[in-house]
Amino acid sequence: MAMAIRVFLLLLFLSYSNLAFSLYEDQVGLMDWHQQYIGKVKHAVFHTQKAGRKRVVVSTEENVVASLDLRRGEIFWRHVLGTNDAIDEIDIALGKYVITLSSEGSSLRAWNLPDGQMVWESFLPGSNPSKSLLSVPTNLKVDKDSLILIYSNGCLHAVSSIDGEILWRKDLATEGIEVQQLIHPLGSDVIYAVGFVGLSQFDVYQFNAKNGELLKYNSAVFPTGFSREISLVSTDTLVALDASRSILVSISFRDGDIGFHQTHVSDLVQDSSVMAVILPFKLTGMFALKTNSIMVFIKVTDEGKLEVLDKIDHVKTVSDALPFSEGQQAFALVQQGGSKIHLTVKLGHDWSSDLLKESIEMDSQRGLAHKVFINNYIRTDRSHGFRALIVMEDHSLLLIQQGEIVWNREDGLASVLDVTTSELPVEKDGVSVAKVEHNLFEWLKGHMLKLKGTLMLASPDDVAAIQRIRLKSSEKSKMTRDHNGFRKLLIVLTKAGKVFALHTGDGRVVWSLLLHSLRKSEACEYPTGLYVYQWQVPHHHAMDENPSVLVVGRCGLSPNSPGVLSIVDTYTGKELNSLGPVHSIVQVIPLPFTDSTEQRLHLLIDADWHAHLYPRTPEAIGIFQHEFANIYCYSVKADKGIIKGHVLGKNCFLEVADEYCFETKDLWSIVFPESEKIIATVTRKLNEVVHTQAKVIADQEVMYKYISKNLLFVATVTPKAIGAIGFVTPEESWLVVYLIDTVTGRILYRMTHHGSQGPVHAVFSENWVVYHYFNLRAHRYELSVIEIYDQSRADNKDVWKLILGNHNLTSPISSYSRPEVITKSQSYFFTHSVKAIAVTSTAKGITSQQLLIGTIGDQVLALDKRFLDPRRSINPTQAEREEGIIPLTDSLPIIPQSYVTHGLRVEGLRGIVTIPAKLESTTLVFTYGVDLFFTRLAPSRTYDSLTEDFSYALLLITIVALIVAIFVTWVLSERKELQDKWR
């Protein structure tokens, strides 16, 4: 009996000792989540198959072409083209191929509509950059083959839609024409290419579609010249604005005869003080003109006369005309007022009647409507219904049908600019008893199920239930702080100027805020978001305050443009304060000081190298003055090849006295020779924690890491080697890496890699830097590591010295001391090209580190730092082996199990962010690109906690069983002994 119990218990414990090595199939999705996005939609082509599979094909600003389900908004298939392969146009050919024109009109691809497989691809050569136009005529057949017409790079191409073969090609660049439109009148074999030559000449070319033969050429000169906007009203009429934007010119070119008809804008619109703009919507028989805030719809009669149809205020966008039943055409216009959005669908030739008029309540955080695409369907009562796809200011995509939002996609998250984190609120006391009792039953049930699963008694249904419980576990998506620090808010700034808070448990959007300061306005024409910083992290001083983040942006694209700042509460998602436009912002330095309300001091450097202190309070100034002499900053001028160090000086000398503004003085400078161009600079993460400075190496020796927060890694290459790989020979290309102290401007280390070139991706942590570059001689990518050690502390090895206090370990370190450092370096081949490198970071820095490498395949590979140890040698000694040194190999191993993204791909990967959890063994990893991926990593396994699915019930039962067993055996032995004694 006792033996049986022992065996049983042994079995139980053994089943637990088999801890997870990597990830099992049923653990996917437990602590990670993956979200797929597409980005802001540029074009949408509806495709309504009779089979009932309703889809829309879209192309986006993130260079994605995707097919979406119209019912639910899910992605059927998706392709992310390269970063420099922007999609110009999309269309559908033959009813089964999606045609995309990309890379400034030089590559044309056809994708199979149902599954997204690429059918063919053709390269369209051409030398003169020009507008890219794609036209897929519906009824243009050449030997059973439909033609696709493309105008790009100054050439007109006709491409077969079956195999992508170029059937004919006409170079129009030699004629000097800038083609604006390709027109194919229905049912004819003629193609019109219309455009401008120079400023004032209008040309019409007629081509035979079958063989590209030039049929006719006409040109006419309009004396005052044109502005480049045109709108095609019918197949033989165009409307353009003249150069002064005050005269509308309708151009008719029926049978090649060009006729101009002028109308003054002021005749049509009274308020013509503002520049008029022709909007690029494709409508029939009319066009839209925008002046000030009013949109004017103007009809063009057969004689070329213009008639104002309507003037509508608050119109945000108009769709292209959509042909539906028997030559009728419809288009939609979207108006916005208050929190509502008004969708009106009108018949093309009859302005007075509306086909559809709907008002939809719209979340104010979505901003204005930017684009609308409509699609028709047959209702159950055989009438025509319309649905609209609306692209909003925050880049989200919505489908509207029957006055409701059927689905929406938060596609703003495809363009994440910066990420920071925020803690969740602490759980409040006072959980009701009833809740506990209810939970107790659930809890027991859950554990019984788990127990069954562990003992392999579970039926498939039970297994499914276990999996469901695991995935749904309310524990991980709670809105409170947890003991292990796994639950946090990821504060994400997107390109649209919207801030999202994502819950790390399941990736849901907790709140979102479209920042007013980052919206397009008259004061701020091109707002761009830059960074997010933790502004206030309530600690022990100000527990009751909510944490907040600082969002930094600027109005415009150049670094000199004025900056905007706003502070956002991370619990409520409300903007607490916004400033701007203020001085320009080129650099933000979070200082290691906080004021009494735990607001972090930030130093913002403007383009004139003035430093501005935030928050602008006297208290902050007080703290700042105290540390004034010890604040240094540096600037990297990559275009000039100069790095300069600065120290703060007196208050700025401005017209208005500003005590929060300081001048900077140049302290040091490094001027790189003409033969070197800076391509990468990397510093350590400011919040990185280093557990110990000492590193015990083999035979009980100690090395001291040179840990300085002020180290800068710089990589330069020869000017010739800046381009892509393959354009430079190894002899004329070299890479120089530097380690620079940013306080004194000392070059601590400098090394040249001959025959190597960028791009360089690097990561700096503790006392080491790892960088990735291309070795031209070996034709391979390489990863190199530099470790830097402090020699000035190297004599502190004597135990007696340490005991007697005769050491310099506690003396403050000054940057002005002459550094006695030694560096170690080693290089290894690495198979992948790299998109981003990061390193895991843990709360105390005890856990060994892993490099996280975002590979070209959009996956994240975890590579132990031990593989990048410059002390690796081919035959390590026994002592070194014990220390954990791996024998040297020329290339780094890629172990398939160590992909942290396992089977998933983070399309368009751009960045990897690691966040320490409270649990020392664990680090949180957030990867962003077009997709988002979040997971939890334990580089040295979870040595400090039980796994999440540890069955406490089983442990309890075991203990109870053990106690029972003890008693039973005790009673048994007592009895036996008694029997023995009675003998």
Binding site: R750, P812, L888
Partner: protein, 317 residues
């Protein structure tokens, strides 16, 4: 070579200096060579070329005895003596200094030999530095710096042939770091051909924090200058033979799937073994127990005897 820079009244230092200059200017004392001059240049060239050896040239009379690297270079020089008769020329560039926010003024001159290599590459060798002593006004300014704990800044041109080149190289140090016995300063000049990239300027040793405010005992400079070129990264070794062995070696450490049968199933095997053992022991006990059971019907006395016997057997097992 050292004597012209600093005039020292100490005769013993003068003697030491003389010894030192003799040692440097006649490098091949060991072998009576008539190619003294060429040899001398060669030595400089060597120092400039080899990346690991810093051409350390101390210009002060208080400097330490001749550093050992020179000896090594000299031996190398003899090896490379007649390789390429390079053309060379003298080049001079100035060191400027500024006190706090003041403008830069001349403070000294660097002289060096410009070597033109066989394939056109130019390098500087044999750097010498002559430091101007502080004038009275400069002393005053420097004292002010010491009081305010401000920066003493220096600058050199970024190109030694066409100063100032693209821009001046500036470096700075807190003035309180310099005074020791005299004024100790240390230059590390990072060169790339004829371009100066950066100057690491500071005190020769450590500079304690908080910085102490004290005036130097003697107002003259102890300057140490080091010329540094870039290190060249070793080529990544591509070993073909070792690959097999290396893979095997690392396979042990990092390939968990490739485990032995025992390693994979030990958690099942051990309990199984235990069960089997248990079963065997029970099977062994079974006959005896049966025997005991049979004897139960027999009178008490013998049974107890047998039982006692059995129990001893069990206990002994």
């Amino acid at each position: 070579m050292g004597t012209k820079n600093q005039r020292s009244s100490h005769s013993n230092f003068f003697f030491l200096c003389l010894c030192f200059s003799l040692l440097v200017s006649s490098p091949s004392l060991a072998f009576q060579s008539d190619e003294l001059l060429v040899d001398d240049e060669e030595f400089g060239l060597e120092g400039g070329r080899s990346p690991d050896l810093d051409l350390d040239l101390t210009t002060s009379t208080r400097s330490s005895p001749p550093p050992p690297p020179q000896a090594t270079t000299r031996t190398q020089a003899t090896r490379k003596k007649s390789s390429d008769p390079d053309s060379d020329s003298k080049v001079q560039f100035s060191l400027d200094h500024a006190f706090g926010d003041s403008d830069f003024s001349p403070a000294g001159t660097f002289t060096a030999r410009l070597k033109t290599g066989s394939h056109g590459g130019q390098t500087l060798t044999k750097l010498r530095f002559s430091r101007n002593a502080f004038t009275e006004t400069e002393k005053g300014l420097f004292k002010k710096l010491l009081e305010a704990d401000d920066f003493y800044r220096i600058r050199v041109p970024s190109n030694v042939l066409s100063p100032p080149g693209r821009d001046y190289i500036i470096s700075a140090v807190k003035a309180r770091c310099i005074p020791r016995e005299g004024l100790d300063e240390h230059f590390v000049i990072h060169m790339d051909g004829v371009n100066i990239l950066a100057v690491n300027y500071g005190s020769t040793g450590s500079c304690q924090y908080p910085r102490q405010f004290k005036f130097p005992a003697k107002w003259y400079f102890n300057s140490h200058t080091v010329l540094k070129n870039s290190e060249v990264a070793p080529r990544t070794q591509a070993f073909t033979e070792e690959i097999l062995g290396g893979e095997n070696g690392e396979g042990e450490g990092i390939k968990p799937p490739e485990r032995s049968f025992w390693a994979k199933y030990w958690m099942y095997l051990i309990p199984l073994g235990l069960i089997v053992m248990n079963a065997i022991t029970q099977a062994m006990n079974m006959p005896e127990e049966q025997a005991a059971g049979q004897s139960a019907s027999q009178p008490q006395q013998p049974m107890a005897a047998t039982q006692r016997g059995q129990s001893t057997v069990v206990r002994r097992r």
